[in-house]
Amino acid sequence: MILTNVNTVPGKKIVEHFGIVQGSTVRAKHVGRDIMAGLKNLVGGELKGYTELLQDAREEAVQRMTEQARQLGANAVVNIRFATSSVAQGAAELFAYGTAVRVE
């Protein structure tokens, strides 16, 4: 599966369109991480736990999206966009969407 966020796959030709595919996941941090982040909030700096968590979540969203694309018979997803939103307190939604295509 080829993933890009440009309109085409550079070096390849799009031969078929399958429309929009999407994947999303809602994640919450566990309490331990929240407490650690709360402490880290006093001194500032990077919250590594959150960075990792969001990175994992985003990968899962992308995976769900590619799964959907594969079911449609596509071999690439172009024009991928990411979005993050905090749904409830302490939970974040990671969302990825794009256009499924077949390239040659």
Binding site: N5, P10, G11, G44, R58, F82
Partner: protein
């Protein structure tokens, strides 16, 4: 001893302020030094926000790369920002916060692209969001997450 018990809240507050100020500015200086050093190392690697067009047979492979960073602000700066909210104007503390997060995210994305043998990244996009417990509470900024993503392109030798 009596003074300590009477002004306990104040003492805790001042202690947190000093801790936030010293540790926070130390961490920020260190982070900026590391950002500048790594940016210099990756100076020759091209990244652009435009879509690029390549001649036929020029591209070996194209793939998605992304990098993200969650950076939080320290206690002292948060207090400064709350004061600033009363008078209005530039909040420098937050500016440096998002600046650091953005540059860090871009650096990580570049590192991933370089590590996978790419020659350039096209169509870079940046996404900023606030997360964390205090993100939604009366406009208070807890921490920001920035994700940078783009299409890495590996070229065939000419």
């Amino acid at each position: 001893m009596e003074i300590v018990t009477r002004y306990f809240d104040l003492i805790v507050f001042l202690a947190l302020l000093t801790l936030g100020y010293t540790a926070g500015s130390f961490a920020e200086r260190k982070h900026y030094a590391s950002i500048v050093r790594r940016e210099r190392e990756q100076l020759t690697f091209q990244v652009m926000t435009a879509e690029a067009f390549f001649a036929e047979g020029r591209v070996k492979k194209a793939f998605l790369v992304s990098g993200s960073a969650v950076i939080s602000i320290d206690y002292f700066k948060r207090m400064l920002a709350i004061l600033r909210n009363i008078f209005g104007g530039r909040i420098k503390a937050y500016e440096s916060l998002v600046d650091r997060a953005r540059r860090e995210a871009i650096l990580r994305m570049k590192e991933q692209a370089i590590g996978n043998g790419a020659h350039m990244v096209v169509n870079l996009r940046l996404e900023t969001s606030t997360i964390g417990n205090s993100a939604n509470r009366k406009g208070k900024l807890g921490s920001v997450e920035v994700v940078a993503y783009g299409t890495a392109v590996a070229l065939n030798p000419r």
